[in-house]
């Protein structure tokens, strides 16, 4: 568990260091995600020669535990709304309209593009 958590933090730390060190426009945690993918790919390849702490199911289980409560993690940031009530009061209507319009637009555009290109590439459905 602790080794797994350390591995996840190490990926994030390396991502953060890489992003800031080279000045990449990509955020640290996203680079951390890419590094974790590389690590998983390497682990798959050298499975037999690695210690159990790396090959066992604990790493995945730890990641899944964090992901299982993903929406909880947004609560502290969301409560920040109490700090900005002046901004939200002054622009309540235009802000609400902008967020609703843009969220619906993004949802529909993504969904329809995905569906259209699926059909063009001759996909046979989820089970295929």
């Amino acid at each position: 568990m602790i080794a797994a958590l350390t591995t996840i933090l190490l990926c994030q730390l390396a991502g953060e260091a890489l992003a800031r060190g080279i000045g990449l426009p990509i955020p640290g945690p996203v680079l951390g995600l890419v590094l974790m993918l590389l690590l998983l790919a390497l682990r798959e390849r050298f499975r037999k020669r690695l210690p159990d702490t790396l090959t066992g199911p604990v790493l995945e289980a730890t990641g899944r535990t964090i992901l299982a409560h993903l929406s909880l993690l947004f609560v502290p940031a969301g409560v920040g709304v109490v700090q900005r009530l002046d901004v939200f009061g002054a622009y309540a209507l235009p802000l609400a309209i902008t967020l609703v319009v843009s969220t619906i637009a993004a949802l529909v555009a993504t969904l329809l593009t995905f569906k259209l290109v699926l059909r063009l590439t001759g996909d046979k459905g989820e089970a295929a």
Binding site: L35, L73, V100, I104, A109, T110, F114, K115
Partner: protein, 240 residues
């Protein structure tokens, strides 16, 4: 009131322990309600935790900074959670690679529409530039969006609120909207909500269907990457 309980309150109200406990307790309560309603979209646990905690802070006149001393432990996990998206992505790599072309197309169109529509609608309705900058990365997961806002000279705290609101909004709208559009493909539905509403949308997708949740997680990761590149470009265009 005698002095003792008052002193106790003064001590507790400033300790991280109290506000961390309040955050978790509010979420557990809101999540139970969501479960009891059969995961009704309007019973979104994030939405109801936020107003509940906000109300507690307001009644006790607690500053947000004091609250965040405790809540930061939860907030911190946003970064490790982003890294952990690698696990479902790796596990479903075959399905993902098979749908790589539709995903990349949807990613490109969705990311541009999410970014373009918020900047255009906001500018048309006369929102000031600093608000537009804070809203630009609203579809991206909080840890990343705050980073993007900071690089563009925006206010990361305001961005975090926009991100949470967009997430809640998407998680509430997605099920009725996609039922109305009669799209039943879980991959497409999940990918769309993950792109538009990051982690809160992904959490919603996992509630409805595991495959949808996986695709939502992928969309969330990919869009974080693409928006980090596109947002400064789009704001540059708008400023002209």
């Amino acid at each position: 009131m005698s002095a003792a309980p008052f002193e106790l309150w003064v001590f507790l109200s400033r300790s991280p322990l109290l506000w961390l406990t309040v955050t978790l307790a509010a979420y557990v309560a809101a999540d139970r309600v969501s479960q009891a309603t059969g995961r009704h979209p309007l019973a979104n646990p994030v939405l109801h935790s936020i107003w509940l905690i906000g109300l507690i802070l307001w009644t006790t006149a607690t500053p947000y900074a004091t609250y965040f001393e405790g809540a930061q432990f939860v907030h911190f996990l946003l970064g490790p959670a982003t890294v952990s998206l690698a696990f479902p992505l790796w596990e479903h790599r075959k399905t993902v690679l098979r749908t790589a072309v539709p995903m990349l197309a949807a990613l490109l169109v969705g990311s541009v529409v999410a970014l373009g529509s918020v900047l255009l609608t906001g500018a048309l309705l006369g929102l000031p530039q600093d608000l537009l900058v804070a809203m630009a990365p609203k579809s991206v997961t909080a840890a990343v969006a705050m980073g993007i806002a900071t690089t563009m000279g925006g206010d990361p705290a305001l961005t975090a609120v926009m991100v949470a609101l967009t997430g809640i909004l998407g998680a509430i709208i997605v099920t009725p909207l996609f039922n109305l559009l009669r799209v039943t493909d879980w991959r497409a539905r999940g990918f769309a909500v993950g792109l538009a509403s990051h982690g809160i949308g992904t959490a919603r997708a996992f509630q409805v269907n595991a495959l949808a949740g996986t695709f939502a997680g992928i969309a969330m990761g990919l869009n974080a990457l693409l928006t980090a590149i596109l947002a400064p470009l789009a704001l540059g265009l708008l400023a002209r």
